[in-house]
Every structure is written in C-alpha cells, then in structure tokens.
C-alpha cells in the first residue's frame, strides 16, 4: 500500500535526522575553546578577588599574604578623595547616559524624515565613524584642537572676539563639559542604530490612519512615532543604569591631567593611579568589588524594570 510506504519513509527520515542532530559531541567540541579561554581569563581571576581581603604582597603571593578582612573596604571609604571621586563618576556617567539616550533618539527621528536615500546613507556613514576610533587617537586630536592656543580657541577669538582662551582640558568644570560633549559626539551615531531599527518596525497602517484623519507630520510623530519608540527608550535607559559607575576610563584617561583631578577623576582612573601605579593592589581590588556590586545590583534592577515596563528579555 502506498500509504504504508510513505509512513516507512517518514520514520526512516526521522531516524536519520534524529541521529544527526542528537550527536552532541561536536557541539561540546565547538564550545571548548571559548569555555577554556573564559575559564582561564575570567573564572580564575575571580578567585583572585580574595586579595581584597588580604594585605596582598606580590612576593608572598595569593596563598601567603596576610588576611585583613574588611580593612581595605573601611580604608576605601576613609580615603580623603573617595567621596569626590564617586560623585564625579556618578555625575559624569549620569549625564552621559541621559544625553546618549536623548541625542540619538532625536537624531533618529530627524534621519527618519529623509526621503533621499543616498543622503541618508552618507550621513549615517559619517556619524557612525567616530565610534570606531580609539580614544587614544581622538584624545590626541582633541588635545591638539582644544589647547589654549588650539584651533578652537583661535576660532573663538577670531569669530567671537573672545580674549581669554577657554581651558577646555585645564579647568575642572570645562573638563567635565568637554568629556560629556565629546562622548556624545563619539557615540550618538552608533546609538542611533537601535532607534532606526525600531522606527523601521512601526506598522505603516498607523501612519495611514493618522493621515486619513488629517494629522500633520508633527502630530504623527507625536502620537505615533514617539509612543512606539518609548519601550525601546525604556530598555536602553534602564540597561544603561548598570553603567552608572562607568564614566569612561578610556576617554578620561586620554584627556585628563593633574590640573583637573578634583573634578575629572573617576573611580577607574583613581584605581589605576592609587592601585596600580602606587602598588596598592588590595585597595584597588576592593574598590573594584565595590564597583561590581553596585553595577550588578543596578543591572538586575534595570532588567526587572525593562521586563516589567517593556517586556524585554535577554534571550
């Protein structure tokens, strides 16, 4: 009977398929390199966190250094500059987070109005670029352009008659301003991608309906586009919360100098100077743990909010 044949065929197919897919050793093998690398360079160092509770001396090593309990954590909070450093970090990071949501959002809305595709693509190519350039090079460029006799101050003098040069990198308040503005400059193009993707996903029927009702483009933006993008804004914003103690080591390290330590020093640069350059390894590790705990708590809170408000999951 033909139907029996067909049945036999299917079960055979199922067998072969199941056999091919059930062999999982190739999958384990594929994961092996990544598992090993992460084990050595992430899981092993986690064991090294114990030095935060020791009086670690490189000569004595991990196993023979003296245990001091929470001494370094206490010391950390008594350190004269630490409050200022934590404040600087949170302050700079918070402003970066806020502007790095608003600016790409606005930029994506503007870009979305462009109907001439080559123009759109060109602008996109140009604005993504700074994201891919190291802060070493950008720092080199900015140090040159923003110097007291640099091109920016020269232009300010020539065009606006400014007599005193602005010390963008030499005055604490201007330094913060420069750091935040240059970070926005570097990041906004790349940040736009997420919103552009979301914009492409809005149901065109909503716009058609709005247009039939006689809504102007601004009204459409206000009542269709912006509400449709809100969930993604919430996700990006809440997930960024975990970075409140990451104010951007790469950037600040390549821009700052002793003149602006009071207003520009952040936890990471502080740890580098006190911990690594001065050899206070245990203290630096303690500060690192403090940072990780705060960051982790905020990530968890962020994910919960993102899940509740915007139904977002990582997997």
């Amino acid at each position: 009977m033909p139907s029996n044949d067909a049945l036999g065929q299917t079960s055979l197919e199922h067998k072969t398929k199941a056999k091919g897919m059930k062999r999982t050793w190739p999958l384990h093998l594929m994961l092996l390199p990544a598992v090993l690398i992460q084990f050595v360079f992430v899981y092993l160092p986690l064991g090294g966190l114990v030095i935060a509770f020791q009086d670690y001396k490189p000569y004595d090593g991990l196993f023979h250094s003296k245990w001091v309990g929470l001494e370094h954590f206490k010391y950390m909070f008594q350190y004269p500059d630490i409050k200022q450093v934590i404040f600087n970090t949170a302050f700079i990071a918070a402003l970066k987070i806020i502007f790095n949501i608003i600016v790409p959002f606005a930029f994506a809305l503007l870009l979305n109005e462009v109907r001439v595709n080559p123009f759109k693509r060109t602008v996109q190519t140009l604005v993504y670029l700074p994201y891919f350039i190291s802060w070493v090079f950008l720092g080199g460029i900015l140090n040159d352009m923003l110097a007291s006799d640099g091109i920016i101050n020269t232009l300010l003098h020539n065009w606006f008659g400014l007599n005193e040069p602005i010390l963008f990198l030499g005055d604490g308040n201007w330094f913060r301003f420069t750091v935040i503005l240059s970070d926005i400059w570097q990041q906004f193009g790349y940040g736009t991608i997420v919103y552009l993707a979301a914009l492409a996903g809005i149901n065109p029927a909503l716009y058609e309906a709005a247009e039939v009702d006689g809504a102007s483009r601004w009204k459409q933006t206000k009542h269709v586009t912006i509400p449709s993008l809100m969930p993604i804004v919430v996700v990006v914003g809440t997930l960024a919360l975990g970075n409140i103690l990451n104010a951007g080591f790469d950037q600040i390290f390549n821009l700052y100098n002793p003149l602006v330590y009071d207003k520009g020093d952040i936890i990471d640069t502080f740890v580098y100077r006190t911990g690594i350059l001065n050899g206070q390894y245990s203290l630096a590790t303690a500060v690192g743990i403090f940072k990780s705990i705060i960051g982790f708590v905020l990530i968890v809170v962020g994910y919960r909010i993102a899940y509740k408000v915007a139904d977002y999951k990582i997997f």
Binding site: T24, P26, L27, F41, R121, G150, I193, E211, I276
Partner: protein, 292 residues
C-alpha cells in the same frame, strides 16, 4: 498630504542642513588632523591650518616612516589584530552555532549559555587578571593581549540570534543528507550569516587595533608595544622616558605635524576597513538584536 505643506517644506530644508552639519562635525576633526600632517611645520605651529594643508609637504610622513620605534609598533599592531581577530571570530562562530541549538537537541545548552553570560557581568577586575597572566608567564607576550578578551560574549550572542533566524528546514535537509554539525555550520549557516560575520569582523578588527591599555599593563618592554599603546605614551602621556630618544629624535617626535601624521596613520586601518564593512552592520546588528 503633509508632504506639500509649507511648514513641512521648511522643516525639511532645516532638517537636511542639521543632518549635514552633524555628519560634517564627525569628520572635520579627522580632516583637520590630516591637513596639519601635510602642512609645513611653521604654519602648523602658528595654528594657521584649518581644513586644507598650508605649504603642502610630506616631511612629517618621511620622519614617521623613518622612526624605527613607530614602524615596529605598527607591525606589532598588524600582527596582534590579525591574530586576535582570527581567534575571536573562530571562537564566537563555533560557540554561537552551538548555543543556537535548541535545548531539546542540545541538553547542556543552557548551562553553557549561563557560563558565558556570567562572564559578561562578573570579572575579577584588572589586578586579579594581572596576577593570573603573570603566573601563566604570559607577560610580555602577544597572548596576554589577544587571549583575555578573545571571547566576545555579546557578539557571540548576536551571532547565536542570527543563526537562530536561519530556517530550520535547511538544517534538517542537510542532516538527512548526512552532514554533521561542522559541515552544516560552514556550508549552510555561515554563507547565510555573511552580514553578521562582516559586522563581527569589523568589530574585532577595530577592537584589536584600538586596544592600548592591556599592553600598558602586560608588556614591560616598550619595544613590544602595539601602535595604540606606543602613541598613547608618546602623544597623550607625552612620556618619552621609555624610548630614551636622543635630542634629535625627541624633536622629531614632538613636532606638531609629526604627531598629526602619527595619529592619522594610527587611524588609517580603521578608516580603510570601516567603509567596506559598515554597510553590513545595520543589517548584521539589527537582525541579531531584534526578536519577534
């Protein structure tokens, strides 16, 4: 229709201007540094150079290219980038494929997934990592630069999502034809994942080329510095002590036009690969990131 209203037309005109200005703002600093590098020293030092070279000459490039320290650092960067990017791509392609399998087929999948996700959130920080690298005797070797960050977990997850979006029927058909996981990955999945792969290639190349801090920690001998680290010490920190240069060389390195040339050469590889690979990355990231 809103397109024809005067208000919208005025808006459109301004919009194009704003967008164009934003685009230019992103490359003007690069053009400026390029213009300085091709200018003569005197106008450059007098800050007379804007976006076009004054007294065109290539002196600064000759000097840079004759600086053995710079050249060595450049080649080390090339090697590091080639090695680092190959390792990362190999590891995340293989890992991303394995993780894209359903848990019903691959029981340990979730264990592995959490094993990697955990490493995104927790790390020992630089000092414990430093101790591990020292105890493994990786100090002063290229491995201390390419291995610690080799598993780009986030990119692996993007690839995993990309693989998951590939129709299951293709995979099943290949299995029936007797293909194993490795040939399915390389002959079915990868050809379809070209945009994602191009994106990851761009990210890993750029990441390795731009990295500078690791070498500052793990490389004791400045002669083994990759270019970004070399320029960080020479141009940003202005620390020439490690190079022990003679007076003449010092004068050359610290010249404004020479600095500009070095910065520009430092950025060049990224500027060169970026335009070719960036057109993929909107597709590469988006398809990976957006789920139904």
């Amino acid at each position: 229709m809103y397109h024809k209203t005067t208000g919208y037309r005025i808006f459109t005109a301004f919009n194009y201007l704003i967008l164009l200005a934003a685009g230019l703002l992103c490359i003007i600093p690069i053009i400026h540094i390029l213009a300085i590098s091709f200018s003569a020293s005197a106008p450059a030092n007098a800050h007379l150079v804007g976006l076009w070279p004054v007294d065109w000459n290539t002196d600064s490039y000759t000097k840079t290219m004759n600086n053995p320290n710079f050249l060595r650092a450049f080649w080390i960067s090339i090697g590091r980038t080639a090695l680092g990017a190959s390792i990362t791509l190999a590891v995340i392609v293989l890992g991303g494929y394995a993780l894209s399998k359903d848990q019903r087929v691959f029981k340990s999948r979730n264990f592995y997934a959490w094993y990697f996700v955990f490493t995104m959130w927790f790390s020992g920080g630089i000092i414990p990592l430093y101790i591990v690298i020292r105890n493994l005797h990786l100090m002063n070797t290229i491995w201390s630069l390419v291995l610690p960050g080799a598993v780009a977990v986030f990119n692996m997850i993007l690839l995993m999502n990309f693989f998951r979006a590939t129709p299951k029927e293709l995979e099943e058909a290949a299995f029936i034809d007797g293909a194993g996981h490795f040939s399915i990955l390389f002959r079915v999945y990868l050809p379809l994942a070209m945009p994602a792969l191009a994106t990851m290639t761009l990210f890993t190349i750029v990441g390795n080329w731009n990295a500078w801090f690791d070498a500052l920690l793990y490389i004791n001998d400045y002669r083994n510095y990759p270019l970004a680290t070399f320029l960080q010490t020479v141009i940003v920190q202005q620390d020439f002590s490690k190079l022990n240069p003679d007076v003449n060389e010092l004068k050359n390195i610290s010249q404004r036009t020479v600095k500009a040339a070095q910065i520009f050469i430092g950025m060049l590889p990224v500027l060169l690969v970026y335009p070719f690979l960036q057109r993929f990355f909107v597709k590469g990231i988006v398809l990976g990131a957006v789920k139904e």
